[in-house]
Amino acid sequence: MIYPVGGSFLRPGAPWWSAIVLAFVLLVLAPRGLDLALQYDLTSIFICGILALSMSFLWGGVGILSFGQTIFFGLGGYGYTILVMNTDASLMSLVLGVLVGGGMAAVLGYFMIYGRINDIYLSVVTLVVTLIFEKMVRATSGPEYVIGSVRLNGQNGIPGIPGLQLPFLTEPLSIEGVFWFAGGALLLTYCGLRLLMATRFGRILVGIRENEQRMELLGYDTRRYRLITFIISGGVAAFAGGLFAVWGSFVGPEMFNLSQASLIVIWVIVGGRTTLIGPIIGAALIQYLTKWLGTVGVGQVSTVMGAILIVFVLLFPRGLVPTLGDLLSRLRLAQVAQRSLKDAK
């Protein structure tokens, strides 16, 4: 690796906290100034942001590159849908959906991480698992595939998912309500993961990412830490899947497929995996670009995404946010140097 492996995730200071407060205030005020269509689109970007966070926490945090975050995204979505349509307890179903994703991550992660398979193998196995999940779901179109009272519907997916019913509210969440809920969820997930990276646990993860063998020699059971991180990340992706089902009131096998899996990787690469905020920005930019490509009628989303991935890997392997950050600090350094030169004269 010829560039630094990752960020250091120090404890955030006052500017960070004020930015979070500002973001929260903006989120509360935003629906007043935005029309419903824009709120609806932004909500989907928030959900993509959570999904991007799940991958960047895993990759930037502990150095596991999972190509199959869509496994947990899809399972979270399907888990929520099947539970809510059977029980009508929607908040509970959202939580249980997260547990379904986390449980799958625990099983899959146990075999891969405790088997100590090579990192590249792990990436490819996760990719294969998500492809096979897609095939499995597509094969459930027959009337015999029913869980409780819900038909799985194979190719066509499950439409008409009821909205999220929060406690103390009389009605399911409106478009505006889902906007707030998803935005709040994104902020909380981001803050939670960012603060987690600044704790002792986070420092251990960074240590493992930089040199796993050295951490083992220091007495840490690195496999346990890697597995815990994998499970947390799977849970976060499943949470995004549940929110996706709430937002679109639809789940389908596309949630597992190759292009969805590649999108997550592209968000993280474009934004920069060494920060947690970068992938959220990457998700927003790429989702906006995809939507724009759709409206222009170019219809070449796959081509453009492939080209973006290649260009970023070859030319900007660190991603936008760290590259811009470097540029800024270099400019600041140059200014300081000039000023001290003047002083010397």
Partner: protein
């Protein structure tokens, strides 16, 4: 009954070995999984269909498709892979980008509908089981391809250089071998093998932009479980997974067969994390 099983297993094993060979040669040499492997197969299928529509006989189309994708592989190596040696993760990501790019471009150029071509028609009945002639052709081509690869690797000077570079690239370099050239050639050979696999699939499934994705997941599992040695590993892993796949697919469904292969592979990797041939020091 027994003949049905033997036929199905032989066919599944041969198909698996055919679609994995190119991937495992590249993997054995550079320890990189070429995520665009499925799309190389797709290009082979389109090349074969195109040649066949020009009136070339089946065998000639097969050879042209193999060579064409091999040349394409050389170009890809020069333009893309060469810049990423030693950065394994980046190679993985770049080949994924290439895969998306090829799917997009071929959808734009050829359209999403399948292009079909005639293969070799006819069936034979042995012991009450009807078998297509083409499946025997496929098994034959696979054996021939494995044999050619084995002969090149073990009986020629080029093969010696390639095996040496695979084991110790630093020493090979110190002995005056241009390892970059070896990598380039290996990548081209792997791409050509993928092209041949795609061309052999064209009469069965037709050529579509997304055909690679349909086959490639089995090939990925196969190569990972096979471990570092392209020929021995692929043969062993294909024999194992082909059998599991054929039996479960016959008894349940093809999706169940794939799930069984995946579960079997994940459990096996828990015990043999480096694959079947991961601990082998020699061989090809």
């Amino acid at each position: 009954m027994i003949t049905t099983y033997i036929y199905l297993i032989a066919y599944a094993v041969a198909l698996l070995a055919l679609i994995s060979l190119g991937l495992s040669v590249i993997f054995g040499m550079m320890k990189v999984i070429n995520l665009a492997h499925g799309e190389f197969m797709m290009l082979g299928a389109y090349a074969c269909v195109y040649c066949s529509s020009l009136g070339l006989p089946f065998w000639a189309s097969l050879i042209v498709a193999t060579l064409a994708v091999g040349c394409f592989g050389l170009v890809v190596e020069r333009l893309l892979i060469r810049h990423l040696y030693g950065r394994i993760v980046d190679t993985l990501l770049a080949t994924w980008g290439l895969s998306l790019l090829l799917i997009g471009v071929s959808t734009a150029v050829f359209g999403p509908q399948a292009r079909s071509m005639p293969g070799i028609p006819g069936t034979v009945a042995i012991g009450g089981t009807t078998m297509s002639v083409y499946s025997f052709v496929l098994i034959g081509v696979t054996i021939l391809m494995m044999l050619v690869t084995w002969l090149i690797a073990t009986r020629t000077k080029v093969g010696l250089v390639v095996r040496g570079t695979m084991q110790r690239p630093d020493i090979a370099g110190a002995l005056g071998i241009n390892t970059n050239l070896v990598y380039m050639g290996t990548f081209g050979f792997g791409a050509a093998a993928a092209g041949l696999a795609g061309a052999m699939l064209a009469p069965l499934t037709g050529a579509t932009p997304l055909m690679g994705a349909a086959f490639v997941s089995k090939a990925f599992i196969n190569v990972i479980v096979a471990g570092g040695l392209p020929l021995i590993g692929t043969s062993l892993a294909s024999a194992m997974f082909g059998t599991v796949d054929a039996v479960i697919s016959y008894l349940a469904s093809s999706v169940a067969g794939e799930v069984a292969v995946l579960v079997f592979a994940v459990v096996l990797l828990r015990m043999l994390p480096q694959g079947i041939t991961g601990r082998f020091r020699r061989g090809f």
